[in-house]
Amino acid sequence: MDRIARAEVADMEGVGALPRRSGELIFHDQWECRAFALGVALHEQGEFIWDDFRQHLIASISADDKTSEILDPSGPGYYEHWLAALEKMLIEKGLITSSKDLVL
């Protein structure tokens, strides 16, 4: 009964829940998958607390007027918010600098 995936990541519910279809994670494009891996790997390495990241993610989704409710899991959109939340998190932790490291 091995479970290597972390429950706080895999089992998020509500606004921040990972897009899934029939239980499987949905990635529309390769970059979504890479962005997902970056966020999870940095968290697993202890760079930040998952809940802090999750709050950024929820804030980003909620601030988007097109997606004030839970995102449609079958459409793109979620990982734009994921990426924004990740950049914010990394800036907060001083791992990157907003002015010079990001393409905005």
């Binding site: 009964m1 995936a5 895999a10 994670l25 790997a41 940095l42 990426l83 791992l95 990157i96």
Partner: protein, 214 residues
């Protein structure tokens, strides 16, 4: 059969909402830049990133289902409720997350063995079983389980006596099945927690039995 069986076909808005090529390219560039920056600084390695993706794509989290099964074994009233209305009984334990799909629990007995499949795609009771194993999604299992369930079970290492009736349940977008396996012998004095630890994912899909603890 003209029966409606739409499973998890993506809804049509999906295509309309696709990003443009330019948007995708910009996002790709943003991620690549971030990834390069962090790998060059030695904060994270490409290998770790690949490992993370493979773990989460193949995540096995059947613990919720195991708790449901163990509760049914120790609490006869719960077992009755589970078999009568699984969606409700599973919710009692705090597990949900399905969007309108009904859960149905089918019970294995000395004379009946149940197996869950999804012959058309890969519908799966993920709030209780986590992510589906790869073989569940592959055509060989999906096509052969309905035609030759006993043969497939043998490949999983489970040989059933001819006297046991085999029932295959085809999951859909509307109904997700979970097998309630037989409680193994020799577990009479076990606590609910100890029983939970015995329940395997495969036993709740119906391709395995739970062995008696040695």
């Amino acid at each position: 059969m003209a029966e409606k069986h739409q499973h998890d076909a993506p809804p049509s808005p999906y295509l309309e909402k696709r990003r443009t090529a330019a948007e995708t390219e910009a996002l790709e560039e943003r991620v690549r830049r971030l990834e390069n920056l962090l790998t060059e600084k030695g904060i994270v390695s490409k290998k770790t990133l690949d490992r993370v993706v493979s773990i989460y794509e193949n995540d096995l989290g059947p613990l919720n289902g195991a708790k449901v099964v163990a509760r049914a074994w120790v609490d006869e009233a719960y077992r009755q409720r589970l078999l009568a209305d699984a969606t409700k009984a599973i919710k009692e334990l705090g597990f949900g997350g399905l969007q309108g799909e009904h859960m149905v629990v089918v019970e294995n007995t000395a004379t009946v063995h149940n197996i869950v499949a999804c012959t058309l795609c890969s519908c799966y009771p993920w709030p209780v079983l986590g992510l589906p194993p790869t073989w569940y999604k592959n055509p060989p299992y999906r096509s052969r389980i309905a035609i030759d369930p006993r043969g497939v079970l043998v490949e999983f290492g489970l040989e059933l006596d001819d006297s046991i009736e085999v029932r295959v349940w085809d999951s859909s977008a509307e109904i997700r099945y979970l097998v309630l396996p037989e409680r193994p012998q020799g577990t009479e004095g076990f606590s609910e927690e100890e029983l939970t630890a015995l329940v395997t994912r495969d036993s709740m899909i119906g391709v395995a039995r739970i062995n008696s603890p040695s």
